[in-house]
Assembly symmetry: C2
Homo-oligomer: 365 residues x 2
């Protein structure tokens, strides 16, 4: 038996054990270059969100292609990326509670990490910990730009919290962050643009207010894959956090952004009970459903009817797809699907070129 690690390199794609998460390396690299080319012509820079792939090898590829640093969702992801040699890390989230803040301070000794804040209590706790640990922590104030999740309101509230950060020992006010997450999946381009402009006005007007109060704003961070070219071109935005663009899914493909579907789940047909039904070995524990069922890749004659926990139930018109045959699915949601797997298999010309650990898988603390 061949193991499911680096020993697969050089083997044929269809020989590896399933379910397996594949990256079409040519398509991934086209996505990488396409995004890099956009930001080469902008004032804003790319700080890709690594929550979408949780993979240090891919984060390094993004940095080599011109990204100025990376974004993480959780402290645990940032710890993984720092251990993989990445220095400039934004945790685009509030880090709350004594244990997590203590971990954050330890991390700040070996990586140039930033966090977001949206309350004076959190600023106070971070400041006290930074002083106690003798570290200097970069902090962004999170502004609610319409997503209605975390963040202070734009304008005076953003100013007040920014002033608080700027006055806090151990902290360095680095700027503002906003995430127009309510817009990144809006299909209509005109509607998406209009909403995004409104959100960025809220964010950039907060920047201007903070600067009028004599606090320099170095960073204004926002954006996702669905809005990267709108937010990334908006004057006053300095960084964009897009992540899904690299591997993509069927949901983002609907927006017609030009990025290709590099990600798929390889599966084996394990049962062929009737002429019209086949069952493959990838279910809800290999692909997520919250954005809808995945798509069968490259086979117009086969439809994924539904997913059970460990089974994909396929409908087709005729025989074919015998037990043992391989079939691929394109996930509907890259971020949560990746989080179900421990490794990517990088494929080129039908062969496994690399096996990359998804080291941030499950690092939600």
């Amino acid at each position: 038996m061949i193991g499911r690690d680096e020993e697969w390199v050089g083997h044929k794609k269809d020989d590896i054990e399933t379910p397996a998460l594949l990256i079409d390396l040519d398509v991934m690299e086209e996505n990488l270059q396409r995004m890099a080319a956009f930001f080469a012509g902008q004032h804003a820079a790319l700080r890709p969100h690594t929550k979408s792939h949780k993979c240090p090898a891919l984060a390094h590829r993004q940095l080599q292609a011109g990204a100025i640093g990376i974004t993480c969702a959780k402290l645990g992801e940032a710890e993984v990326m720092a251990a993989a040699g990445i220095n400039d890390i934004l945790i685009a989230n509030e880090v709350v509670g004594p244990l997590k803040i203590d971990r954050l301070m330890h991390l700040a000794r070996r990586a140039d990490v930033m966090v977001e804040v949206d309350s004076p209590q959190n600023v106070e706790a971070l400041s006290a910990a930074a002083v106690a640990h003798g570290v200097q922590l970069r902090v962004l104030v999170e502004v609610n730009v319409g997503h209605n999740r975390c963040g202070v309101e734009p304008g005076e509230a953003a100013l007040a919290l920014s002033q608080r950060v700027a006055q806090s020992e151990g902290l360095r006010f680095a700027g503002l962050a906003g995430y127009e997450g309510h817009l990144v999946l809006v299909k209509d381009r005109v509607q998406r643009e209009a909403g995004c402009h409104l959100s960025m006005q809220r964010l950039v007007s907060s920047r201007e207010l903070v600067e009028r109060n004599a606090i320099p704003v170095e960073i204004v961070s926002a954006g996702g894959t669905g809005t990267y070219d709108i937010t990334g071109a908006w004057p006053g935005v300095t960084e964009v956090q897009a992540g899904s663009y690299l591997l993509m899914d069927t949901t983002y493909r609907e927006l017609g952004l030009g990025f290709g579907n590099a990600l798929s789940v390889l599966s084996t047909v394990m049962s062929r009970p009737t002429d019209r039904r086949a069952v493959a070995d990838a279910g809800m524990k290999a692909m997520t459903l919250e954005f809808g069922v995945p798509e069968v890749k490259g086979r117009a004659d086969v439809r994924l009817a539904h997913l059970a926990e460990e089974h994909a139930i396929l409908e087709l018109d005729r025989r074919g797809l015998e037990p043992g045959e391989k079939i691929e699915f394109i996930p509907s949601h890259v971020c949560t699907t990746v989080n179900l797997h421990d490794e990517f298999y990088g494929i080129r010309n039908g062969l496994v070129e690399c096996v990359w650990e998804i080291a941030g898988r499950g690092k939600f603390r």
Copy 2:
């Protein structure tokens, strides 16, 4: 900093890092005893499906409470359970492809494993491998009892495949398996019973046909948590595969089976942006959504509005739930939620009594 492993034992529940998957040990043990008490009075025995917890420590508890063996969904799960000292294992699935069949034969040397089959080709491949490896493998013929996933049709098709297995060198025909998965979540008891009776008639009549053809049928395996007491009382059924009963979720609770919700996700409030909104640190990467949003545990004043990837957006009527406070959620689907976590924290009287590795997490191959 305290790590997230056994060092947590003895600490207060609310002190551990979040998100974290908790088991209320008293409730879990009541569920264990309730199920054991039912099967103590039946001809059929319990072979609990461990896909729901993927945890060797819990599987051993089930065996100690009278289970005759365990059920796994995948070969990879069975390997984990065998390595934890469990011997009698049913893989309630077809094992297809040369690599998996090779692994299965290696496993069969150190555990008394059973697999299901639904095609002559698979029987042939298993037989050839068993002969080559010099092992004797127990095989159940999977019968489609109405779930329309895998399995041969009841009656003549089941007989023909059973005969094939019985005649195959290296294989021992052990019986029949059927899963009434289309019925386990039917809320109406009368409807669930009627459907279940029909499914079990299909399965047991197939048993009778096989036995009339002079092939002894030792095992007839079926059932899930929603049908355990219907299927488990049906004459001719020898084993029931229920699994979710041990930890439970909100979906199974709706059936009024009497099992308590032992599972919850502990989360920390990380943002309190408005009087009516709080945000906690457990999202879709900590709790699954395919059966609906999880429920806030023990707090009628707080509603989980929706889950983002790493955030639970909560609605409430008044202040309270300040950043740093803990809140718990009851998952809507135990099996897929458990698969997002690496360990359980067993809680009794508000303290961590044990930390159990979810060793089968991600073992979908």
